[in-house]
Symmetry: C2
Subunit: 311 residues, 2 copies
């Protein structure tokens, strides 16, 4: 490894903001140093609290995360916040949410904020989020708070990399709770009823409890915590409950198993893209349409070529 | 190639229904003979009319296709009908639509019907549809009619393999026309206004014409044909217009270019799956979670192993 790279890694490990931001960009873009960075940083990861916070827009996720950050900062913990918006084309810290999330912690060197978005992230959002968490942990953050918008398939994939997952609901969402997809109910460890000073909080809690009663026997029962993010009510109680939580090894093993297969595929696909450039495929396509080549034979030739090429 | 396989290919080329159906299943499941079948059958493909018919549920696609089939049968042409429903979990001829499509041609050996669905089709629906069309053409069908439900991204991908694409609309859909995605407008060669004996057909045609006027200069103008599928009105006119149509080489080249890259990737991914079985990834995931392995190092080992393994 070059001494420049070693130098960079040392700065990341110290948690210096600019080298860290540069490393995250390299990892998101799968740049030339991404693999070495991740391999070198991985041994220093795995010890942080990775808390996923998800829920529909407007339920107060950003304010909750700000309060959780304040709680962790009071205990002297270093906090990283990762905002993931699968529907946003922007990444690298430019989305609106950042400004909101940052407000109360602006200028605090113990809080690092990063935004990610689907488009522009090579290799898939969930695997890239996992890589980003690895880097943030190695940079000395004691807690990584992952905020996703909504509860679709992308969010469920991302949440596989959290050690604890909080699903945020608000009063008046009773009917929506009935419609929640099974996958989301299953991944949540905690349901946060935010804005619980509003009418209907009790009704929502009751509906949630009857829904949770339907979970199969032996399934761990998620807990329910009432919060008021704007005043901070319920946050300390929620954060204490996390201290006693341990990572679910079953979830971690399942996540890594899928991830290893995806990583191997991604490596090989990138290898193919390096070997065979676009104009080559264009030329072959012309020859097929002109009836001079059989695509099924061409593919065998290309695969053989890719396999023999030194990596 | 084994003599059994040779025998099978001869039967497919003669258009025998059961060997053909078996070949399509082999191709859909990417079975062990799929590659050899496709390589051997490809030279006999590429001459048929490949007509894509798409549109929202209830616009009369199946009845239209039945009428188009009757038109082609009167001219002595052999017809294959491929129903693709990206939202249906069923495949292999079991969906409801088949019975409707079959009704008027049941027992006619010159008409072959096949249904496909997303789930259960390995390697993606659009590439598999292309393979299925190759086999059907090599089996001596003069026309392959491809029916898809809806106009989402999956349908647009599938329609790349059609030489001509008809988008079916019905009166009363005026507002929906305004909302049609640009991608769909661009792929259609013909707009069929079906149920054109109903009120609002003229209004729909006007709206369509003003929308088409917005297409950039130089874009081929799609034609508009009014039909009444239940009586057959307009079908002969539509079918005559196809006789003068030629495949768009640009569309074909673009399709093959994307497809070759996807085929190479698929081959390599299957190679990985043959080399590294699931329990191996499970074992590695355990070792990572126990802190005994670095996933980023493991991936390099696995990729090296896969690359060196004889295919």
């Amino acid at each position: 490894m070059s001494s420049d790279l070693n130098h960079w890694i040392r700065k990341i490990r110290k948690g210096e903001a600019r080298p860290l931001a540069r490393a995250l960009t390299e990892v998101e873009n799968r740049g030339p140093s991404a693999r070495t960075l991740l391999r070198s940083l991985f041994p220093y990861s795995g010890k942080a609290l990775r808390l996923g916070v998800t829920g529909a827009p407007g339920v107060g996720k950003s304010t909750l995360i700000s309060q959780m950050t304040a709680n962790l900062r009071r205990k002297g913990r270093k906090v990283a916040i990762v905002g993931v918006d699968p529907t946003s084309p922007y990444s690298g810290g430019s989305i609106l949410g950042d400004r909101v999330r940052m407000q109360s912690h602006h200028g605090d060197p113990g809080v690092f904020v990063r935004s990610m978005a689907t488009r522009g992230v090579l290799g898939g959002l969930a695997p890239t989020t996992a890589d980003v968490i690895t880097v943030l942990e190695a940079a000395g953050h004691d807690a990584v708070l992952i905020e996703t918008v909504g509860v679709g398939q992308a969010e469920i994939e991302i949440m596989k990399w959290a050690s604890r997952i909080a699903l945020v609901l608000t009063p008046g969402m009773g009917d929506d709770v009935q419609m929640m997809k099974a996958g989301v109910m299953e991944i949540a460890d905690v349901f946060l009823i935010n804005k619980s000073d509003q009418d209907g909080a009790g009704q929502l809690e009751n509906q949630l409890r009857s829904l949770l009663a339907l979970l199969p026997d032996g399934t761990p029962r998620p807990s329910i915590v009432r919060t008021v993010a704007t005043t901070g009510e319920g946050i300390d109680q929620f954060m204490e409950s996390l201290d006693t939580c341990l990572d679910s090894p079953r979830r971690l093993i399942g996540g890594w198993k899928e991830r290893l297969a995806a990583m191997v595929q991604q490596e090989v696909i990138e290898h193919i893209q390096r070997c065979i450039d676009d104009s080559r495929f264009e030329k072959m396509a012309h020859e097929i349409v002109e009836g001079r080549q059989n695509p099924y034979e061409l593919v065998e030739t290309v695969v053989a070529e890719v396999s023999n090429r030194k990596r």
